[in-house]
Symmetry: C2
């Protein structure tokens, strides 16, 4: 079995590698990204068999050659411009690049007559502004994308259906909810909390800077995410979209309190108005019933465990 | 008042010019297209004041310069790759070009701080596969685009909402249904019928070649289309999408019979299997209630009148 992972050097890519090293050590892996992945957390023999191509998915020639040469069985498309804030500042660039990344990949597969299964990773952002009555969001909930990034994700999902239904290519789509887990960058809220609390415990930080603590989100551990992706590739229905989420909603204030309790800190909180989005959903929680029903997904990481591992990650880096 | 019309040399562009010449002879007009428009049907003084830029909307520099120089009040975006069949053969090209055409225009307007009102022309194809229970289609009906062309149109409409709501640019969207009218190319079904019947009457053609005569469509005269576009630009709500349709469904067999009766022919019909689409909606009819309510649109061309004018157009060309 051969995997092609685009965006392999990112947060999810690293965890996918770790998952494969542990659960499918026999597979072959080809990766593409703009920079070489950090694989220091993998054992040497597994690390050495990852074949890496440096470059962009916007480079049609590169992706066409990689598909032709490597003949992958599974393709996981993690490459994207994934910042909503950036998409507001550069709407055309974000939309064009994200849709081109997907189309270049899909066309390379179509033109090479590859039979590879493709996982098209989308986002809960596709749901857009959500009425509380529609929580939890199911795959039948309407898509009302409310920023340029989300519109590109909806287009990608619609195009995936076309490749699947019209060209008979097995493309499976996700609508992935907020990720958490060790090694996540501190531009993401929970990782930022964990880092600041670790700084409070170890480096003398005196307060936590945060945005709106009242919003409710559905956080899923990245290790559950990559496991669900692998299940979807093997058992998911082509042409279908799946929520990848925990099915649980947690208020940010609750998560912050859990982290402080685990770290034994009682740092005061300071709200930074710049961290509050002008328009935001008070609550986003997904239903993962379809994921459970179609591919027998069961969540393995509790919120408590995820938070402990994130704290431990930051504390280790500070020591 | 200054109009910028992209795709000015096409079927709708020509009728828009004719409408402006008749109803708003004082306006200034700037046009862009790949080839110079045929304006032989306009009076000389109106024809001479149309400023034409030859080029593609895919050329960012061109459109940016045109917007900066001409400072239009109204922009009608008719430029597109509009063949569904072509979009199946070249999905990436069709999707990328159609969305880039719109984005290049929208970004040029945004970056020049122009206050121009933009009409973003979309298609009834955005509704995709439609259940008979959902006829007539209202603007609240779900969008399930089922070909690459339609997916690009949905993305364009979603992006229009972003430019309107997020960047405060007045963009008004249409979902335009099947057009008919004189000068329409014979690759479109009703114009093909009219041409073949005129050939039967004048040139001795013995039979009519056609596809599935059982499907029901909502045909609106192109002269009503351009009038509704002008109403929408002046009175439509930014960020909203409007069905541009007649609100009436007619079976193709009925239209064929009407044309034969008007021409005094009784040509036999031969079904060409190549003209039947593998997947097609049995019935597509729109509701134009929103168009009526918001901009006081009233249809001026009956189906009978449209068909007479189409027959007359072809007969004139054959004489």
């Amino acid at each position: 079995m051969k995997y092609l992972i685009t965006g392999i050097s990112g947060f999810v890519g690293g965890h996918y590698l770790e998952y494969l090293a542990l659960k499918r050590p026999g597979v072959k892996i080809v990766g593409i990204d703009l920079s070489r992945p950090d694989t220091s957390f993998l054992n040497k023999s597994f690390r050495e068999k990852i074949k890496f191509h440096k470059g962009s998915l916007l480079d049609k020639k590169l992706i066409t050659n990689v598909i032709k040469k490597t003949k992958p069985d599974y393709i996981i498309n993690l490459a994207s411009y994934s910042s909503v804030a950036y998409s507001w500042r550069h709407p055309a660039e974000c939309f064009v690049n994200n849709t081109n990344i997907f189309l270049n990949l899909a066309e390379a597969v179509r033109n090479s007559k590859s039979k590879a299964k493709i996982l098209s990773v989308g986002s809960s952002e596709e749901y857009g502004i959500v009425a509380p009555a529609n929580i939890p969001l199911t795959e039948k909930s309407g898509l009302n994308p409310a920023n340029p990034y989300a519109i590109a994700r909806v287009a990608q999902e619609n195009l995936s259906k076309i490749y699947s239904d019209g060209y008979r290519m097995p493309v499976i789509c996700t609508r992935s909810f907020n990720h958490i887990g060790p090694r996540q960058k501190d531009i993401f809220v929970v990782s930022s909390f964990a880092k600041q609390i670790a700084e409070g415990k170890l480096l003398g930080r005196k307060k936590i800077i945060c945005g709106n603590l009242g919003i409710i989100r559905d956080f899923i551990d990245v290790r559950d995410v990559v496991r669900s992706y692998d299940l979807l590739l093997r058992k998911g229905k082509p042409g279908e979209a799946y929520n990848v989420c925990s099915g649980e909603g947690h208020k940010l204030s609750e998560i912050l309190a859990m982290l402080q309790k685990k770290a034994g800190t009682k740092l005061p909180v300071q709200i930074d108005r710049d961290l509050i989005r002008p328009v935001d959903n008070p609550e986003i929680v997904g239903s993962c019933k379809k994921l459970k029903r179609h591919v027998a997904f069961r969540k393995e990481y509790t919120l408590s465990r995820s938070l402990e591992d994130m704290l431990a990650h930051w504390e280790k880096r500070m020591r």
